[in-house]
């Protein structure tokens, strides 16, 4: 596509980057068909191609972002479905990140919105604060109707999303090493995450058990924390970069202590961001090389396990598992087959959800910031899940799990929780009623050679 930037504009590295991305787009429009907001709203401005156009005009005009542009960019889920569809290889992810940062720098927001954004950025990345906030949520629950009436839909959405009961803390919070009892075959760093370990601590526990059983030491590095995705997608680039640097520092220290085979993430939204650290920090001379190294080591847990032979499962079931591919996994990291394969090899009967490329509406904090669209997408997804009548749903991202829990009439769990269960772990939280359909695989009787010789 033709662009109109002055040489002076192009001397700015960010504009130059945007320009090179824009030049790839041929405006063919294929992306519109798989964009959740376009499918829902039928408005070019809420499609990837339309947003690319809005961004192009905004940057070319070198003017502050208008309310209109801000509105339509805010409505983008960053699900990156468009990138899976785009035949021209337009790097929409980096374009929208860049545009969001531009919008935050050049345009203001009303007080209510600033308040919600502050709250989110100030609470979610910190497990202690988040736990505290969830404990407070019941106090707000009677007031959600009133909040909505006064235009605080986002605050109401926040309160609605908070779980009624706080699950117990995880077995292993780190920092430290969860060492394998088997012969050590690999050593990995695990991102312990932020919101996930509060909402569903079983995910980290399952991951550690699953890995440890296969001879993998799992390290949670001291000083590591939230990956920064949350703040990044709220347009707070500087804040996100601080989080990224903290993790790069913490993990580089671990790398110095001994060989690391991978940096594992079990929340695909975070994984996508860690894989992008190299790009996020490329303009920071002190960090660029180290960040690139970290990104190169980053793996989703299913990606890492996919390369391992997990062997026959310990438990057998005929449970019908609807696999919900998180957008950050299928579009962001292009990991499509591994989680399905792992689940099937573990003995589950895996079924695909119709329209599985369309986002469930979670998208980080999107379900709080854009409750209306997120709700419509959630309902569409729930309907599609119900159509295939599964016993439960498995997904690789905590956002999707929270978004869908309670919306479909079956439990929603993380892929690794199911895997861990099949390979000998405890029943995942919420699946207790299904446990009676799962039985132990009988151990083959061990016979020695002499049993045959002297028979």
């Amino acid at each position: 596509m033709q662009t109109n930037f002055t040489p002076e504009q192009l001397s700015n590295a960010r504009i130059a980057e945007a320009e090179s991305i824009l030049r790839r787009c041929v405006h063919c429009g294929l992306c519109t068909a798989t964009c959740p907001t376009y499918v829902l709203l039928g408005d070019e401005r809420d499609s990837p191609r339309g947003r690319i156009y809005l961004i192009k005009d905004m940057l070319e005009d070198n003017a502050p972002a208008s309310k209109e542009v801000q509105h339509h960019l805010d409505r983008c889920l960053s699900c990156l479905s468009c990138m899976s569809t785009c035949p021209s290889g337009v790097d929409y992810m980096h374009l929208i990140d860049l545009a969001r940062a531009y919008v935050e720098q050049t345009a203001s927001r009303p007080f209510k919105e600033r308040l919600v954004r502050r709250l989110l950025a100030g609470i979610l990345p910190y497990p202690e604060r988040f736990r505290f906030a969830i404990r407070l949520a019941p106090l707000g629950r009677p007031w959600t109707k009133m909040l909505r009436r006064f235009g605080f839909e986002q605050l109401a959405a926040m309160i609605d999303l908070a779980p009624a009961v706080l699950p117990p803390s995880p077995k292993f919070e780190g920092p430290g090493t969860a060492a394998t009892e088997d012969e050590r075959r690999a050593r990995v760093i695990m991102l312990a995450g932020c919101a996930q370990q509060v909402l569903r601590p079983g995910i980290n526990d399952s991951t550690i058990r699953l890995l440890a059983r296969r001879g993998v030491d799992v390290v949670v590095a001291s000083g590591s924390g939230c990956c920064g995705a949350l703040t990044y997608h709220l347009g707070d680039e500087a804040g996100a970069i601080e989080f990224a640097k903290r993790n790069v520092d913490a993990w580089t220290k671990e790398l110095a202590k001994g060989p690391v085979d991978a940096i594992i993430s079990n929340a695909s939204g975070c994984g996508t961001t860690i894989k992008d650290y190299g790009h996020m920090l490329k303009r920071e001379p002190e960090y660029a090389a180290r960040a690139a190294r970290i990104s190169a080591l980053a793996r989703d847990v299913s990606e890492f396990l996919g390369a391992y032979e997990l062997g026959p499962p310990k438990r057998w079931s005929s449970l019908r598992v609807a696999y919900h591919p998180a957008c950050s996994l299928q579009h962001g990291q292009r990991i499509k087959e591994q989680p399905r394969d792992l689940l099937s090899k573990a003995g589950y009967s895996v079924v695909d959800i119709p329209e599985s490329h369309i986002c469930c509406g979670s998208a980080g904090t999107y379900n709080i910031m854009q409750p209306e669209i997120a709700g419509a997408l959630r309902d569409r997804k729930s309907k599609n899940i119900k159509r295939i009548k599964p016993d439960l749903v498995a997904a690789g991202n905590i956002g999707c799990i929270s978004q869908l829990s309670g919306q479909v009439d079956v439990p929603v769990v993380h892929t690794v929780e199911l895997l861990d269960w099949a390979y000998g772990g405890p029943v995942p939280r919420g699946l207790e009623p299904l446990a009676r359909f799962v039985s132990n695989v009988p151990e083959p009787k061990q016979r020695r050679a002499e049993d045959f010789i002297h028979a």
């Binding site: 030049r23 041929v26 063919c28 429009g29 039928g42 156009y53 035949p87 290889g89």
Partner: protein
């Protein structure tokens, strides 16, 4: 690349913009009208981005009745209208004028009725082509015409352009698959043409409306044929060391009486780009690749593939490789279908669309190469060889004005060549703005005069999709005058 000029906007309409917007909002609601500048600019081009013009406003109706209200209003007020589906046109079919209202059908995308016994489906026209197949595929059916943009393009656009696609060799183009239409005429009247039965009573208006490029009215619903999916379908890839050999092979397959579902052609540059995108296992060291697909009962496809491979052997192919699995077939098609977009990875491109008699294929291909070389441009060829529908992609740099102009000139020469060898200006993309000024190459003045009179019957004020199809000079010289001139 803007050698074709658009008609002058109607000043009086431009001046009334605010009141027109207000009136439209009153008709279909505030959330159905886009009037801010940035928003309008997002509609300034379709997939032919060389031509751009933001419209006066955009209306996004939700029903046939909405469309009717808008058209009645525009007709009464002398406001031009540009229909738009998904904006995937490669000939600028949805290019607005500054004084026009774009009517986008994207919100009208419901399936109205499916009838598996009579094998028909009735849909709103903003539904995407592929969504029709999705709606009937669980029952074992599909909708046959498959433009490469089928993921995104709408049926309304397909009807307007009489779109084709790879599989049209066997199933025909859009016009062969439409049974009935609901259309809003320029004065807002809603008419139904044809219906869920073959043939039409009286004149065959369907044939007239399909391919009329949104200049006769706005189609809002369509009743279409759906066909049962074959038991098996398998492509074979045939690689050749010269385009002549590939061209002769195509002619020989068709000449033998076999009707494959599709015969697709890619040349070396196109193969490289598509392989990089789709990883379909295309051979990279051949000059020309044919993808020939056959379908039917399992035994039938096996036999047909064998016959085709036998025919191909006499043209000394370097590669003969049949698809090994459904997944492999999907990848082979994914690369072909995304060819245009994938070309965007390496360059801007200008996608041509002409047809030629099959026997002239080798000669035309070498002439195309020559023309592009003369204009110092690169070209890649990806097209439907089975029915002689060429799509040379002329590669150019959109940020280089001189190169853009050369691309457009080379394109015009290629299309003239198609006509000269006994072919046609348009295969399946339509005329739009892109081929408008070449219409005189194809048609005599009296041909064009008759066509313009037909257009005047449907749209006496020439308000619908202005500036397209008929060269402005011809139009201005004729008795059929566009609305703006009448007003002046």
């Amino acid at each position: 690349m803007t050698l074709s000029r658009m008609p002058e906007p109607d000043r009086a309409v431009l001046d009334r913009r605010d009141s027109i917007v207000k009136d439209l909002e009153a008709l279909i609601g505030v959330d159905g009208v886009i009037s801010e500048e940035e928003g309008r600019r997002a509609f300034e081009a379709d997939a032919l981005t060389a031509y751009r013009q933001a419209p006066l406003a955009v209306a996004l109706p939700r029903s046939t009745e909405d469309v009717s209200k808008i058209l009645r209003y525009c007709n009464q007020n002398g406001v031009r209208v540009v229909p738009r589906g998904a904006g995937t046109s490669l000939c600028g079919g949805a290019l607005p004028t500054a004084d026009s209202i774009v009517i986008g059908t994207s919100r009208m995308n419901r399936v109205i009725e499916t009838d598996f016994i009579n094998r028909t489906i009735t849909v709103e026209c903003g539904i995407t082509n592929l969504a029709i197949t999705d709606a009937v595929s669980a029952e074992g059916f599909f909708y046959a015409p498959d433009p490469s943009s089928q993921l995104a393009c709408t049926v309304g656009g397909n009807v307007a352009m009489n779109s084709g696609g790879a599989h049209c060799l066997k199933y025909g183009v859009t016009t062969n698959n439409v049974l009935g239409l609901k259309m809003v005429l320029v004065d807002g009247e809603i008419v139904e043409i044809g219906g869920a039965y073959p043939d039409s009573e009286g004149y065959d208006f369907l044939a007239l409306v399909v391919g009329s490029e949104g200049q006769f009215g706005i189609v809002t619903e369509a009743t279409l044929k759906i066909v049962p999916k074959p038991e098996s379908a398998r492509p074979v890839m045939l690689g050749f060391s010269s385009c002549e050999a590939a061209g002769q092979c195509v002619a020989a397959i068709i000449g033998s009486g076999i009707i494959p579902v599709a015969i697709e052609y890619m040349d070396r540059p196109a193969i490289a780009v598509c392989e990089a995108y789709a990883k379909a296992g295309y051979p990279l060291d051949v000059e020309a690749l044919l993808i020939v697909e056959v379908e039917g009962y399992e035994d039938e496809t096996t036999r047909l593939l064998r016959d085709i491979v036998d025919i191909a052997r006499s043209f000394d192919p370097q590669v003969i490789e049949a698809s090994t699995s459904a997944e492999h077939s999907a990848r082979i098609w994914k690369g072909r279908k995304a060819a245009f977009g994938a070309m965007g990875r390496i360059s801007d491109y200008y996608c041509m669309d002409g047809t030629i008699p099959l026997a002239r294929l080798p000669e035309v291909l070498s002439r195309i190469a020559q023309i592009c070389a003369e204009h110092r441009l690169k070209v890649a060829n990806v097209f439907h060889a089975g029915d002689g529908n060429l799509h040379p992609l002329i590669l150019y740099n959109a940020n280089d004005q001189d190169e853009s102009n050369r691309a457009e000139l080379a394109g015009a020469e290629i299309l003239k060549l198609c006509v000269a060898v006994g072919g046609c200006l348009t295969g399946e993309h339509g005329v739009g703005i892109e081929k408008r000024d070449l219409m005189e190459v194809q048609f005599s003045p009296s041909d064009l005069a008759v066509q313009m009179r037909i257009k005047s019957v449907f749209d006496p004020g020439w308000l619908l999709n202005p500036g397209k199809v008929f060269p402005l000079s011809v139009l201005e010289a004729s008795g059929e005058r566009p609305a703006a001139d009448q007003a002046a």
